[in-house]
């Protein structure tokens, strides 16, 4: 009997050892997690805070499923796998990134509202997958993403190339891009809470504990995003990893409260940084130092890196930080004076409506190229909903207010809208001449909607999502310095802020258009009045066509009279 027991014990120990090894192996080269917080004082006294959380899962074969989740959020992993997505980008934004004052953002921002784009593997139910993907994400993030239907979904031809590693021919033959945006969507804590739940440490420790809804949504601009993309593990790209990048950017305004641009973590987030997330491989806080030298950073940074562009980055390793340290930055000035020579980006754009009345109008976009002597190729991408009927023959291009011989439009992709089924899409490849303002303008008619197609607040109007200007990928002139800091594979020593890779996209303003409204209280009246008019014609015509004329004979007349007299 005891022999059997010993055998059983032996067996148990064996199983335990085997299990331990396999699990350990799994853990060993599976997930890694890094977190970082970047703070950048902006030239107009505001402060950009940028949280970034990267989780990488290795040993991924494209098209093959994986079931072991350690740090990688299971909810996202399952969505990606069941809907056959190769890459997924979801951004919730409120406010507009002010390119002229703030320069380019550290991570891709987006226009106000929600923007979702995904590269999906081609299969027979790709459109169904996209639909399910939007619905699943809608459920996950408590957002109205399920409203991204056919009337909103677009397949951009030139913009929104994959951001992870990719092979151009493979992408074009095996994957398709879908894009949808909801400019009217409000972003608030109900979206932030599920977003935080995807993090390995939630908000209990690490820099995520600073994410305070009250402070975050009291900012001039905030943007929250999730990017899932494949990345190469080695230089030859034999092995791939799947990376999920979660970011939160917020632009807060310390000047508004105190008149000074001094800040401390406690002041801007209302919370203390207690400790780094114990699960994180790296946990860093970086401050991109301004060019003037009047500031004082306390406590002193662990390290200061000099970048090529002349910027210095102060680095704190949160793993070594004393508990409850409050990092702060102060300037030797009584009151902040606005800097009028702010950092201007080379390419930025403004878009607005022209015309008046509710019948027709126009859209005008000014694209600025501030580089003194370099022509910059860009891609202009604009999705106009079907209820604005664009007339392509009215598309005009002007440079510095003048019509030019040499058309800056090198390539144009245009998809006309179809009522109630798809939007207008304009994608134009433009070559912006140096130091110029390129103006695109196009006219449209406003469509008269059925009364059921208006939202409950019909007179507020309809939001038109941002136009997007993206770099073409060719590295030209002034975009260079941005590309310099952009490297795909960051080594361990480079600061995180230096290795965010993304292709530059500039988003214009969202627009609000008011459409002509019917009288919403009238359906019954209109039905009765119109039908009466039709009945008037039908009745009279029926009468004339079916009844003949007869003379009223005098004797009949007399008889009637006599009859009446007799009755009297």
């Amino acid at each position: 009997m005891w022999q059997l027991g010993r055998l059983f014990l032996f067996f148990l120990v064996f199983i335990f050892i085997v299990l331990k090894f396999t699990v350990a192996e799994n853990f060993h080269h599976n997930d890694n997690f890094k977190e970082s917080l970047t703070i950048k004082p902006l030239s107009d006294g505001k402060l950009l805070t940028h949280f970034q959380f990267n989780v990488r899962i290795s040993g991924i074969k494209e098209g093959k499923t994986f079931n072991h989740y350690k740090f990688f959020p299971r909810a996202i992993g399952q969505i990606i796998q069941s809907y056959n997505a190769r890459e997924l980008h979801l951004t919730f934004t409120q406010g507009r990134w002010n390119y002229e004052d703030w320069g380019y953002p550290i991570a891709p921002s987006a226009g106000t509202g929600v923007e979702l784009w995904a590269w999906l593997w081609k299969d027979e139910k790709l459109d169904k997958n996209w639909k399910s993907l939007t619905n699943a994400l809608a459920g996950l993030f408590c957002a109205s993403l399920n409203f991204i239907d056919d009337t909103i979904t677009v397949q951009p031809q030139l913009s929104f190339r994959p951001e992870g590693s990719y092979n151009a021919t493979e992408i074009s033959t095996h994957a398709e891009l879908r894009y949808g945006s909801l400019p009217h969507e409000n972003v608030c804590t109900e979206n932030l809470t599920p977003w935080i739940k995807l993090l390995p440490c939630k908000s209990t420790s690490g820099i995520a504990s600073l994410l305070n809804g009250h402070k975050l949504y009291d900012s001039n601009f905030h943007s929250m995003s999730i990017h899932v993309q494949p990345v190469c593990e080695d230089s030859r790209c034999l092995n791939k990893q799947l990376e999920i990048i979660q970011t939160v950017s917020a632009v807060v305004d310390p000047v508004r409260n105190s008149g000074k641009r001094d800040w401390s973590l406690n002041q801007i987030f209302g919370r203390q940084l207690s400790q780094a997330c114990p699960l994180a491989e790296g946990s860093k806080l970086e401050v991109i130092l301004p060019e003037d030298c009047d500031y004082k950073l306390s406590p002193d940074a662990d390290d200061v890196t000099h970048m090529d562009g002349g910027t210095n980055i102060a680095l704190y390793n949160l793993k070594n930080l004393q508990l409850t340290t409050d990092i702060s930055m102060t300037w030797k000035e009584d009151i902040f004076e606005y800097n009028l020579n702010f950092e201007q980006p080379r390419i930025y754009a403004h878009r607005f409506f022209t015309g008046y009345g509710q019948e027709r109008g126009g859209i005008k976009v000014n694209i600025f190229n501030k580089s003194p002597n370099i022509s910059v190729p860009i891609i202009y991408y604009d999705v106009i909903p079907w209820f604005l009927k664009l007339y392509l023959h009215t598309l005009k291009v002007q440079i510095n207010g003048k019509e030019v011989q040499d058309n800056p439009i090198k390539d144009l992709y245009y998809q006309p809208a179809v009522d109630r089924s798809r939007p207008n899409v304009i994608e134009a490849e433009l070559l912006l001449p140096p130091n110029s303002i390129t103006t695109l303008s196009i006219n449209f008619d406003k469509v008269f909607l059925k009364y059921t197609e208006h939202p409950p607040d019909a007179n507020r109007g309809f939001d038109i999502g941002s136009a997007v200007i993206s770099s073409t990928g060719e590295i030209v002139g002034d975009f260079n310095y941005l590309y310099d800091v952009v490297t795909r594979n960051c080594s361990e020593d480079t600061p995180r802020a230096a290795c965010y890779h993304y292709s530059i996209r500039v988003y214009t303003e969202t627009l609000l258009v008011s459409l002509p409204t019917p009288d919403f209280s009238m359906p019954y009246n209109v039905i009765t009045l119109t039908c009466t008019v039709i009945a008037l014609f039908f009745g009279s015509m029926f009468n004339l066509l079916t009844r003949g004329f007869v003379a009223l004979q005098p004797n009949e007349d007399n008889k009637n009279k006599e009859g009446k007299d007799a009755a009297k």
């Binding site: 039905i527 009844r547 003949g548 007869v550």
Partner: protein, 420 residues
């Protein structure tokens, strides 16, 4: 025709031509008129034709979008016109109007010849019939016609086809008559209902010539079907797909574009409850077509009058009517000038037309631009305009029947006449 009559004709046509040419010179007038929803509709707008043409020339399928809903042959014609200087486009519209008016005089003459053996009222024996040039003049100087021509609305080509169809049918030219009616149906679908009166005109003297009426009717219908399918096939080869069917006739029948116009459809279907939309769409479209049979039967001896009546019904009850449609049936009206003395509401209809012409732009402005009125303002005006047209049509039909009654019953002149 005397020399004097030639001079009158020359003067009328010359004045009409000059007036149009001068007005075309002011581009702001033509632009304003070309964007008025009373004058141009989504299916006749020249702006949309330009857009379709632009897409077509740049290799984008013109019917794969929601902007262009006109026949492919128009694309081809205007593409050819595009190679000529701009003035030729304007001249096309002016000349189309003049040719239309010219054939109208011929139609009037032929009608007067046809009716010269027909018994007449005693009072009419002394009076002269209306001068055909006056009929043309009334068409050419009708403000609705001028506005429609200046707006470059393509409804003018439908109107020309109908007039030519009538002309050749009265001339007993079967294949041309059916061709032009097929062309009109091809361009804007509704003239399909004019097939019956056209056939009636064509078989008018078949009996006297000893032809078999039944085979005549069948050959006419066959010709119509042949021409129409020929035109559709030609269009197919021109644009390379059948998409245009849905983009043109589909739009006319199913009304996806609810841009306001002078008709009854747009506001009704903006306000319609979704679950009843298709029901009422079917009812409205059937209502427009249903009159073609009883009207042709009742007026089988006066097919030209049923032509007038049906084009009137078309102008009121089609899905995208404009004042250009009204100008066509109003052009037919003076041909039957002898019925005017029987009409009871001339003063009322005249007033309604003036009232609508003045108030419709104002109310539309109040709704769309000033924001001080709402959609009901313009809707009310379209109702009044429709009622005005209805009264005119019903009154003219009444007058036609009433006069005929008096012709056949001269002895009942002193009695009270009622409908029974």
């Amino acid at each position: 025709m005397t020399i004097q009559s030639h001079i009158t004709g020359g003067l009328i046509f010359g004045a009409a031509f000059t007036a149009r040419l001068i007005l075309f010179h002011f581009s702001n007038i033509t632009e304003t008129l070309g964007s008025r929803i009373e004058i141009v509709t989504p299916v006749t707008s020249f702006t949309r034709l330009t857009e379709g043409l632009y897409l077509f020339e740049n290799g984008v399928p013109p019917y794969d979008g929601g902007a262009f809903h006109q026949a492919p042959l128009l694309l081809a014609c205007f593409q050819l016109l595009g190679y000529l200087p701009v003035i030729f486009t304007k001249l096309t519209f002016i000349l189309t109007d003049l040719i239309l008016a010219y054939y109208l005089t011929d139609i009037t003459r032929m009608k007067q010849q046809l009716y010269c053996h027909f018994p007449r009222l005693k009072v009419e024996l002394k009076t002269k019939e209306i001068d055909p040039w006056i009929v043309a003049g009334l068409y050419l100087f009708n403000p609705f016609t001028i506005a429609s021509c200046l707006s470059k609305s393509t409804i003018i080509f439908t109107n020309l086809s109908i007039i030519l169809g009538t002309y050749y049918s009265l001339k007993n030219n079967k294949s041309y008559g059916m061709f032009w009616i097929a062309m009109a149906s091809y361009l804007s679908f509704y003239p399909f209902m004019l097939v019956l009166p056209t056939i009636l005109m064509l078989i008018n003297d078949a009996e006297s010539k000893g032809k078999n009426i039944k085979s005549e009717i069948f050959s006419c219908a066959g010709l119509y079907a042949g021409w129409l399918s020929g035109l559709l096939l030609l269009s197919y080869f021109l644009v390379g797909s059948w998409d245009f069917l849905e983009a043109t006739y589909g739009v006319i029948l199913l009304l996806p574009d609810l841009t306001p116009n002078v008709g009854l459809f747009w506001y009704f279907f903006i306000e319609m409850f979704d679950q009843f939309r298709s029901f009422f769409l079917v009812v409205f479209q059937i209502h427009a077509f249903i009159f073609m049979v009883p009207v042709s039967i009742k007026l089988r001896n006066h097919p030209l009058f049923s032509m007038f009546l049906l084009s009137g019904i078309m102008a009121i009850f089609k899905s995208y009517p404009s004042i250009g449609d009204a100008s066509l049936y109003l052009a037919f009206f003076p041909i039957y000038s002898e019925i005017i003395k029987y009409m009871r509401y001339n003063f009322l209809t005249t007033n309604i037309f003036c009232y609508c012409s003045i108030l419709s732009p104002i109310f539309y402005h109040l709704w769309i631009y000033a924001g001080s009125g709402n959609a009901n303002f313009f809707y009310a005006i379209t109702l009044v305009y429709t009622i005005g047209n209805i009264i005119l049509l019903v009154d003219a039909t009444y007058a036609m029947f009433r006069r005929e009654f008096d012709i056949w019953n001269p002895d009942l002149r002193n009695y009270e006449i009622i409908q029974k």
